[in-house]
Amino acid sequence: MSTTAAEPGTVTASRVLTIEDDRMAGTEIIAELEKSGFLVDWEDDGSEGLARAVSGGYDVIILDRLLPGLDGLTILTTMRTVGVHTPVLMLSALGDVDERIRGLRAGGDDYLTKPFDPDELTARLEVLLRRRREPSAQPKTRLSVGPLTVDLLTRKVTRDGADVALLPTEYRILEFMMRHAGQLITRTMLFEAVWGYHFDPGTNLIDVHIGRLRKKIDTPGVEPLLQTVRGSGYILS
């Protein structure tokens, strides 16, 4: 959804390098990302891709796991070895947990299994870009979104100064949403971040949890903060 890319604060468009050998997938990724306001370069060969990745100038790299010329994992390790720390989102048809761990261990910042929802890709890229734009040098102790405040030390949540009592799971969801305020968070991202598992739990399950949280922070009569983006996920803003 373009709403996320046209977020206030984004002065210049982010540059994305896509290293992907599948022409269909490549075209689709580029179309989707350009629609969301990214500047996209596309490379379909492993060694060429590595050269471009190392030459720098990119804000985020989308890297396919299996490539001709040079394997995705090799590109990633080489990049990290020569000191290029551009965030990398790995794409792979290999969705196995072991593969995911290998990808992340090699220096990947996120891992997405094909086939994926285009919104999912955009949402994850935004998270990576945000992390890059705002390096959390000093750990925050408070998060606020509008009238909503979370004290990370005492785990106290207030809205307009009034305490909101949350269950542990609800608190973890809220904390994650607060950390990524203004960004589209997909159900899968939420499930991965809050519960730590990587399978599809079905749409309804996460909706129910969000529903519970919403009931507590967006009481009737006040302006709702937690919005549902139909078919994609949620935004807290």
Binding site: V97, H209, R230, G231
Partner: protein
């Protein structure tokens, strides 16, 4: 199913010379015949040497006798012995130092007979008085004190006859063994070939796609054992094929419906683009999108099952506390139950830790809980119970949904199966497929029981094939 061109069939197995039974029996018969012949030969050799030795002893005794006879009376003594010898078993000859005949029926000193009182065999080369048939003899010679040479010879015909008989027996036995061996080898190989041909016929039929065929079994031998192994394999292949067929039918049934919906929606939008207002177009597109999502979900689940099924190694295995895992899951699903006013009863006993892949177990159990909630009526009840059984933890999940009839319980564990009276409930029909795949990786067992209506899914968290 695509027909793939099979490799050219192996060389015609009916060429009898190549059958193992025949080859082995021939070799065996040959070896047996050879060893029989060797044995007989040894016996023959032993008999001949023994009898030759006996003859030598007899002749030596005669020489002792002649030693006691004075030189001048020797010629007479010899003549007397010849006269006495009725059977012509012995021959004698007395010669001067230069080889002239003095007395006896041997007329010349046999060539190559040293006068050292040792026995030598002469094959019909002895020079005897005319009229006597010349037999094979054993001869012995000695020098007298007056330099005359005394030659004794003894007929060996009876010894030779025994030896002849032995040789005949030898050859006869060899030929007999060989022919019996080859004949039985031939017969056995004929029989074996008939069985192999039968197996070949059936195998060709199976290769052509007739999976109902089974190899003939009966005799309890190695061929039979192989046939039974192959039959077992065929059972398994047939089961898998049926599963795949079931899956294809499931795909046809479950995927065609949403696809048809989408198609109808798209056609309607295309037909009435001009006449429809924005809101109704948006609604239709939204509906099409929902249908597409459900299709994608289904495919994702299918891929997931394949992925789990491909997990052979147990790299992700570690110690898992089922109690905390189920606790976490119950917390995850409790809101879903609450939303539909389903009574959520959780009873977790502390259990022994198990070896397993936590993520996979979580996924499998989440499917079971999801199903339990999905199939329970609003305001129903789901009961989750974790207990310690003798071999390991046992997880029971009971719902009061429509239940699974006994005859369908095996089938629901296969991919895509949807009980007829649950077709209206959304879902990929693949949840239990994922559970089964995870159970297979762990060697755990999923059992379905419960009064109909109502279902109890029991997961026995301990390896079953090791027991």
């Amino acid at each position: 199913m695509t027909e793939t061109r099979s490799a050219p069939p192996p060389a015609d197995p009916s060429r009898r010379w190549h059958t193992t039974a025949f080859r082995w029996l021939s070799v065996y018969a040959l070896m047996f015949a050879l060893s029989v012949m060797a044995l007989m030969g040894f016996i023959g050799w032993l008999v001949t040497t023994t009898m030759e030795g006996d003859t030598d002893v007899v002749m030596q005794w005669q020489l002792f006798y002649f030693d006691s006879v004075a030189d001048e009376k020797l010629a007479d003594a010899i003549e007397r012995r010849i006269d006495l010898g009725q059977m012509h078993a012995n021959f004698y000859g007395l010669f001067t130092a230069d080889g002239r005949h003095i007395a006896g029926d041997i007329l010349a000193v046999p060539r190559g007979l040293p006068p050292d009182r040792t026995g030598h065999t002469f094959d019909r080369t002895l020079t005897l008085v005319p009229g006597e048939p010349v037999p094979v003899v054993r001869a012995m010679a000695e020098l007298r004190r007056n330099d005359q040479e005394l030659v004794l010879a003894r007929d060996l015909t009876h010894v030779l006859r025994i030896r002849q008989t032995m040789i005949h027996a030898l050859v006869g036995a060899g030929v007999y063994c060989l022919s019996i061996g080859i004949a039985s080898g031939f017969l056995l190989s004929l029989r074996q070939m008939r069985r192999v041909r039968a197996i070949r016929r059936v195998t060709l039929k199976i290769a052509q796609g007739d999976l109902n065929q089974r190899l003939p079994v009966g005799d309890r031998d190695e061929l039979d054992m192989l046939a039974q192994l192959v039959n077992h394999m065929l059972d398994e292949v047939e089961r898998l094929m049926n599963e795949v067929k079931g899956a294809s039918d499931g795909i046809a049934h479950d995927l065609r419906t949403p696809l048809a919906h989408i198609r109808t929606l798209l056609a309607r939008i295309a037909e009435r683009t001009g006449s429809l207002d924005d809101a109704s177009i948006k609604g239709m597109v939204e509906q099409a999108r929902t249908e597409t999502d459900s299709l994608l979900d289904r495919f994702r689940a299918m891929l997931r099952i394949s992925e789990i099924g491909a997990l052979k190694r147990r790299a992700g295995f570690g110690t898992v506390d089922m109690c905390s895992l189920i606790g976490e899951l119950c917390e995850l699903y409790e809101p879903l139950a609450e939303q539909r006013s389903i009574q959520w009863i959780v009873h977790l006993d502390p259990v022994q830790p198990i070896q397993g892949d936590r993520a996979l177990l979580f996924e499998a159990c989440s499917n079971l809980l999801d199903n339990a909630i999905k199939f329970s009526p609003d305001g129903g009840m789901v009961h989750i119970q974790l207990t310690q059984a003798p071999f390991g933890p046992r997880l029971g999940i009971t719902d009061n949904g429509p239940g699974i009839p006994v005859h369908e319980r095996e089938a629901v564990l296969q991919r895509f199966y949807r009980s007829d009276h649950t077709r209206h409930i959304s879902g990929s029909g693949l949840g239990l497929g994922i559970v089964t795949a995870v159970m297979r990786v762990h060697d755990f067992v999923l059992r379905i029981s419960g009064e109909f209506p109502g279902t109890t899914m029991t997961v026995e968290c301990w390896p079953h094939t090791l027991q």
